[in-house]
Symmetry: C2
Subunit: 565 residues, 2 copies
């Protein structure tokens, strides 16, 4: 019922008037109705303006008539829509007095409160099996001239009056708030998802022994292989980074909301764009990280006993829903290109964007590995990289425009650069937030020391994984990259003795983790055996399929052979 308490409740809270709250809020919080949020259609997702469902106002009866005019306009994907919910907030094009005012939200009852049957004009169904989310009934909805009273449009920001006249919202930006809120929340949520995976793989790596490290000696723990540390430790650091960045972002959002209440929306453009990009950056990094962690468990990582298949199913869709990742990064890029233009014109930039003003001829002075423990140096390296990626995009677009290309074409012709720019920008944001958060956190010195190592390590790892862009920025040389590698390798040894404690600190109970590999007591093999033995298929030695299929098959083959003799 996740959507009931998130998108459904939020739409009602944020988009309905107080009057409307009286009618709906209690029913939602008491669960006397169950709802979902239905925006995506079979043929339309990302592009809100492309949605086809219509809500046409009928002045004579003061009702909206909701309708799916085409096959592609069927609502498709909303969670719990197929079989579970009784109501939905439906996104539809508002048409009144013959004019199309674009997408608005409407409360629509879908099923009878008597017997749960779908109401007249409404066709509902499950969209079928999918990757992960197997216990969520993502569904479809076809509306055929379904009538709802006028007051079931979400009227907080725009209204349709009884006579069909339309009032537009005062600030078009207001509707961004809930998107910013949800996307910022995702940053922390995927951080927690990644921390789950990191806990499982790290604990298992402290139990599993394999191969040989020093010839003749007993098999070492796999955690003692450098390559294994390269799989685990960056993910541990990343999980901390995302959880703390998500937390920081939450703070920024709250202070923006306070300002917005006073009518100051100046922070919105940057916040909106950063949260979009961070959503993409952190979900993709989590998706990839979870796969690295799963594979770091060898064969057993594939077993459901590891919990990885379920965790991947749960987190992989974050790359696509709440804003498809490529589209999100391109949204951030719009803001970056605006900022680059401002920088060119000498106009004022936001504090964070002032990295665009760095001198491109500045060079890193690091001359020994330890110099790359200095966070100022590391942040400067990230800043120069972001500067370079943003200005390259800007220049390439300008060049295309000068050649006479249309705006949209020039933009499209530089997705390659724009995506790199957004990614570099978000990466800098995470390193910076992570660093600040660890400085500000209340904890023991010993804890802060190891958290600081994680910040350094996260930054070093990011340089090594994107070294081309760091070199391109000109700030770092090839020789200095060798120092980065050396320092990275040194930190592996620092993290190794703390690795298990670092994941224990994520504080997952065994029950919550649901992973035999990730058990706190490390008693993996005995419990893998127990887990397998308890599978329903193992209740009988000879499976039913033997009698049905295998026995006749084997006997027939036997007969054939004998008849040939």
């Amino acid at each position: 019922m996740h959507l009931h308490t998130t998108m459904f409740l939020q739409s009602v809270s944020f988009q309905m008037t107080e009057e409307q709250h009286k009618k709906w809020l209690a029913a939602i919080t008491n669960y006397t109705i169950i709802g979902t949020y239905a925006q995506t259609e079979l043929g339309h997702g990302t592009y809100l303006r492309g949605l086809e469902t219509t809500a046409t106002y009928d002045t004579s009866t003061q009702e909206f008539v909701l309708h799916s005019p085409t096959l592609t306009s069927l609502k498709w994907w909303p969670g719990n829509l197929g079989k579970l919910v009784t109501h939905a907030i439906v996104a539809a094009r508002l048409i009144t007095r013959g004019k199309d005012y674009g997408i608005h939200l409407f409360m629509v009852q879908l099923r009878s409160m008597e017997d749960h049957s779908s109401l007249p004009g409404i066709e509902l169904g499950d969209i079928g099996p999918k990757l992960g989310y197997s216990n969520v009934d993502n569904g479809f909805l076809r509306l055929e001239y379904v009538r709802i009273p006028r007051d079931q449009m979400c009227m907080k920001f725009s209204q349709v009056h009884p006579d069909g006249t339309y009032s537009a919202p005062p600030h078009s930006k207001l509707s961004y708030n809930s998107m910013v809120h949800i996307r910022s929340g995702l940053v922390k949520r995927v951080g927690i998802g990644l921390s789950k995976g990191a806990t499982i793989a790290t604990r298992y790596s402290a139990v599993r022994r394999q191969s040989e490290l020093i010839p003749g000696r007993p098999e070492p723990l796999i955690m003692d292989y450098q390559s294994q540390q390269m799989k685990l430790f960056p993910q541990i650091a990343t999980a901390y980074a995302f959880i703390l960045t998500g937390f920081q972002l939450g703070q920024v959002f709250l202070s923006y909301i306070a300002e917005a209440k006073e009518g100051d929306f100046s922070a919105l453009p940057e916040l909106h764009s950063t949260s979009a990009g961070l959503k993409a950056f952190t979900t993709e990094s989590t998706r990839g990280g979870l796969e690295v962690l799963r594979m770091s468990c060898g064969g057993h990582g594939f077993s459901s006993a590891s919990a990885f298949p379920e965790i991947y199913g749960a987190f992989s869709p974050t790359c696509t829903f709440e804003g498809e990742n490529t589209v999100m990064l391109l949204q951030t890029a719009r803001f970056l290109m605006k900022s680059a233009r401002q920088a060119m014109k000498g106009a004022k930039l936001t504090p964070f964007m002032s990295y665009l003003l760095l001198n491109q001829h500045e060079r890193c002075r690091a001359s020994k590995p330890d110099d790359f423990l200095d966070m100022d140096t590391l942040l400067l390296a990230y800043s120069h990289r972001a500067r370079r990626m943003v200005t390259t995009s800007f220049r390439c677009i300008e060049a295309d425009l000068k050649e006479g290309k249309n705006n949209g074409i020039a933009w499209n012709n530089n997705h390659l650069h724009l995506l790199a720019a957004s990614t570099a920008h978000c990466h800098l944001f995470v390193v910076d937030s992570f660093n600040k958060a660890v400085q500000a956190i209340q904890c023991e010195d010993r804890t802060r020391r190891i958290l600081r190592v994680l910040v350094q390590f996260y930054a070093l790892d990011g340089i090594l994984k994107n070294k081309g862009e760091f070199l391109e920025s000109g700030y770092i040389t090839v020789d200095q990259l060798d120092l980065v590698s050396k320092q990275f390798i040194s930190l592996l040894a620092v993290i190794r003795p703390n690795a298990v404690a670092l994941v224990d600190a994520f504080d997952f109970r065994d029950l919550k983790l649901g992973s035999v590999l990730g058990r706190y007591d490390g008693n993996v093999y005995e419990n893998l055996y127990k887990w397998a033995k308890s599978a329903p298929l193992n209740r009988k030695d000879v499976a039913d399929a033997y009698h049905l299929h295998l026995k006749p098959f084997l006997e027939e083959n036997q007969r054939r052979v004998q008849s040939r003799l």
Copy 2:
């Protein structure tokens, strides 16, 4: 029954004597018995020497006694082992006359041919649900002093005589053949897997419309976004590259087998090491590519109707089985370090390894984007990158040894560099093979022209995705990388009008593809709707779960609210 016809049959064919063939081959090919290959144990996978299962020869009865001495020695993972098979080739430590001769293979009957019950001393079961392979019953096996006749040891290369004396194999390398064969085969197999995904996503991208490219114009096909092309086209090129490289590798293997029959094993070390690394390189690239392709389909990519969930489940394990990828790359690295040492000493290198002799001061002369269409230039860039990665690893290991580090420790301390070296080496191998294969292929000029573009494109894409290493090699400058980007972008436009034809050429029938998104006729939406409607859950409007759970829940909530009023 995949394992029956692959590993089971192959072990019998390659590892048993002609005498033994008489006893077993007909039964296998006629399917009067069903078998699998049981090597991996609960506690041991990668490290063959770590396996614990024993096969102790009893001279008095001329039998082997197979036994699982510990919980961790249970066979675990073999396909179809739990419920289906009647026999297995079991890998166990051979012990005779009190001496442990290490791992050998044994034919063991597991279930009765009468009623399929597991034979005395044998415990069998399914290991439970997992990622993908849901219709393969991966199983476990515990052996308690199970006796088999002496002639059920695979005796082609080594023998135990009736009196328990042991004859060692003539060439320790012979057992490598089947590994090389299987790993080379995987290269082509994953190429085909990737081509499936590329077909689905490309066809869908030629149907799906979303967002806007030029403001005011109708929604474009998503294939017209540069970012979408950046997802699709590299995967199309990679699929061609792997299929053709796999084919080349197959040829190399055949000519080696011919040489080996004459007693010439000189090609084996390189072939063995290259096939290991290529197995890792191509499976990982396929796994990642399939996810890119799935996500390029937005929400619908998650639906089983896309076929992506099943394809991912089928191909993702290739990264782990038949040699875990990290271990495979490190194996290749051993050969590279040997070659580097030979290069240092001025000893002879194999033709392919002669890239180690390139002059590190050589610089690329490209000065315009077109210069990066020249395959000699591109191959030289890849060669210099591989040279640099291999020599860096070699130098770092030497430095650690000079510091007095133990061999194994020095090796382990440089996994970071060694993995990069192997990857660069394999990448070069693929670019080179792909290029050669396209030169050699029999086809129309028009076809060769577009295939040649794919080779160039594959090479350019690889440079952009690994630009740090190309810059580190010194061969390419930052300014030249700009030319690479420009050329890459130009080729996107060349591939765009050919994209659908390129995937059609993979020649998957709709039935084989099993994907609504990938339908040849492009009739996606209507068939997504039909597919969903046909789901069993949609047979009834009101699901049974309503009566069981939801109705009581809603009614109880309603009562609670009313009693409060």
